[in-house]
Symmetry: C2
Subunit: 100 residues, 2 copies
DNA sequence: TTAATATATGAATATATGTTCATATATGAA
DNA sequence: TTCATATATGAACATATATTCATATATTAA
């Protein structure tokens, strides 16, 4: 079975999805969430970022379904959306660690 | 073994690597090269892009090691760098095709 | 209700990036 | 060498994007 080239709409969706991994702040958030579910304030504190910066980036991560969230009390707790996210992080790390 | 959070330099390298997948033109080039090795002119023709656009993007893809190339005569032939590239494309496609 | 805490949103700004045009470099043919 | 073909590069411009500041919304406690 020959691999096929995705149609235009898939290319756009895929580029938006993968582009979301292309920012240091978002990556830091994702690596934190790989360890455990966290609230917005905890993410901001651990990464030494402003709350508003974190909220803006979480909105992007939510929209592209890299994370999911649940509300509890006044807090909102975020975690990685599914295993694809961690797989991409792992493959990416393998790639950049390759020498030559 | 607990997963660790990459250090600053790794985060930067990883974000630059993954960012490279975040553009429709580069994705189209990668999907073409997933099928077969191709020269610059052939890529431009198949994707209906200007040669100079393709060259600029190939430079990015080379720099981040998503593709490799070999020179033959006056041509330069490009192919995917290693299996990581196809893996990321495949996982990404799986993700965007998930409904819900 | 009022106050306090947690999170989200909108506008503004500075920076990054993709494409185009013009042109340079490289290789092979004549 | 000169010409033609293949590819790469640099500058310019328009668009996209990350962060900040100010503020809004939501929830709980008093």
């Amino acid at each position: 079975m020959e691999p096929t080239i995705p149609v235009e709409e898939e290319i756009i969706d895929l580029s938006e999805f993968l582009k979301t991994f292309g920012d240091p702040t978002r990556l830091r958030i994702l690596f934190l969430l790989r360890e455990r579910e966290l609230g917005v304030h905890a993410i901001a504190e651990q990464l030494e970022l402003q709350q508003t910066t974190v909220s803006h980036q979480l909105k992007v991560l939510r929209y592209l379904r890299l994370v999911r969230y649940r509300k509890e009390g006044r807090g909102v707790f975020y975690s990685l959306s599914d295993d694809h996210i961690e797989q991409i992080l792992n493959i990416g790390m393998e790639h950049i660690q390759e020498q030559i």
